[in-house]
Each structure stands twice: as C-alpha cells, then as structure tokens.
Amino acid sequence: MRLAPGVWVGSLRDLIERVFGAPPLKQLVNWGRIYSLWPVHLMTACCGAEFGAMMGPRYDPERFGMQAATGSLRQSDVLIIEGTVTKKMAKRVKVVWEQMPNPKYAIAMGDCACSGGLFHDSYSIVNEVQKVIPIDVYVPGCPPRPEALLNAVIKLREKIRREEVYSK
C-alpha cells in the first residue's frame, strides 16, 4: 500500500516477506533450502531398494545435503514416493504429506508412481500419484537407477533455486 512515492505502510510480516523474498537474501534462503533436503522414506514397493542403494556410500546423497533422515515427518522436506501407491495406502500418503511443514516437495519415483507401470491394470492401485498429492519431479524407470534418482534431486534443486521464497 503506497501513500506517496517512497513511503510504504504494512505489517512486520509483510516487511519480512519483502526483504527475504527479494535478491540477494532470496538466493541465500533458497541456497539453504536446497542444501538441506531431508527425505521421507515412503518405501512403498520395489523402488525402495534403489532408494536405499542411493542413500548408500557409492552414490552418497549427503554431499547434496540429503541426510539419511530417519527422523519424524515434521522435520522433513521432500517426500519421495518410491513405487506403487495402492488404494489402501493412498489415504495415508495424503496424511503423511499434510503433516510435512511448508515448503515441501514431492518426487514420484518409478513407473508405478508416474503412471501405473507394470501393475496398471490391477484392481487395487492408484495409477497416478498426481491424483493424491502434487508432484514436483517425475523419475521414470522400473526401478530407476540410483543415478537417475540423484538426477531428479538435482532437478528439484534447480526448481527450488528458481522459486519464490514465500508462495501464496
């Protein structure tokens, strides 16, 4: 709200958002976010084995700041949906997603999460995880190699770098 040129009136929260939402502080905040992506291990099905391999010493996601977070959902940033989401589990995936604090991101790993994969004609699965929660990065593969998952993490980081700090 502007009264006159050069004068701006608003609440303290608006002020903080203006300061941190503009460069150079915006770059700093986003840099902090991309170097501390703690994943939630939603090991649905087979892809969990490749996620486990990716967290191992050969592929080492810790150099990207992705810790082998076995902590609670309330201090995680990225939900990696590894594999098929069944109808029985879909409700619980939503519960997990809603518990995570903002900003949060989701990676759909594997053909089953992207579009149904090998089991697309099953009577008990949800074919596209997009119907349950919003997805940021899709990783095709059955299962995707750990390098492909690392590539997805890198793409997610590029996406976060371009993002607004406070999204409405």
Binding site: K87, K88, D121, Y123
Partner: protein, 160 residues
Amino acid sequence: MTAEHSAIELDIAAIVREQLGNATQVKVDRKGRVSVIVPREFARDAAVGLQRLGFDHAIAVSGVDYRSEKRIEVVYFLSSYSRDDLTHVVLSLKVQLDRENPSMPTLTAVWESVNFFEREAYEMFGVNFEGHPNLQKLLLQDNWDGPPPMRKDLKIPELA
C-alpha cells in the same frame, strides 16, 4: 523314481486311504507329490490324521475357482518339519466346495500357521471358514465393495 524313493509316498498313500476310507481319493503324482481329495465333511478329520502322521508344516493354502464346473477348491499344501523321510514330500489336501456357498470348517486348530492363509482365501474367494478366530479382510482396501477378486467373475482386461 527308484523303488526306495517312491516307497514312502506309496506308504503314505496307503495309510491315508486306510484311515479315511472310501470318501477320499489318494494319488501319488510323482516323487515327493501326493494328493488327497476329501469332501468338506471329512476335511477336519483328514487334517488331524495327517498331522498325526507327521505333516506338521502347512506351507500354503490356495483357493482355485473352477467356474465352469461350479466348484471352488481349497488346497492345503503340507510338508513336515519333524519327520526326516517326509521333508521332501508335499501333500496337497484338496477340499471341494460348492461355488454358490463355499463353506468349510477351519483348520487353524490343527495348524496354527494357516490362520493368515485362510483369511486370504476368505477375502479373495469368499470361502467361509467356520470357527476361524478372526475372519476379516487382510489385504484388500478398507472400503472394497466388489466381488471376491480372485473369482473369475472379476475380469482384468487382457493385453493384446
């Protein structure tokens, strides 16, 4: 199949035939495979008798939907932990049930391990196991309202 290898299977077949009488059909399919077909009234007695013979390991329970013959067959696969001469044998105990109303007494009192196996057969084929301690859905989603999925009534589109 040498004479000494087939001896135990033929022995078992003879004992089972003798104990259960004419209502059962017993066959030795090959080395290590014996099959026994019983009507539902004799299922419990057959199970107890087989357990006493040494078949104390129930390795699987399967339902099969023979829709054109209007029957559902529940097959118990049995082997042995304790008898060394029976560890290589799989005895299939087949119970034939009417497809419209499949129901048979539970065998959980004989082999405790079939508890979860019978629950799966209940939800997948609709077989009622009388006297089962906890006959509820196991694998299907909470609000499943269709027919028992493994019956041939539920069709999955075939790939070309």
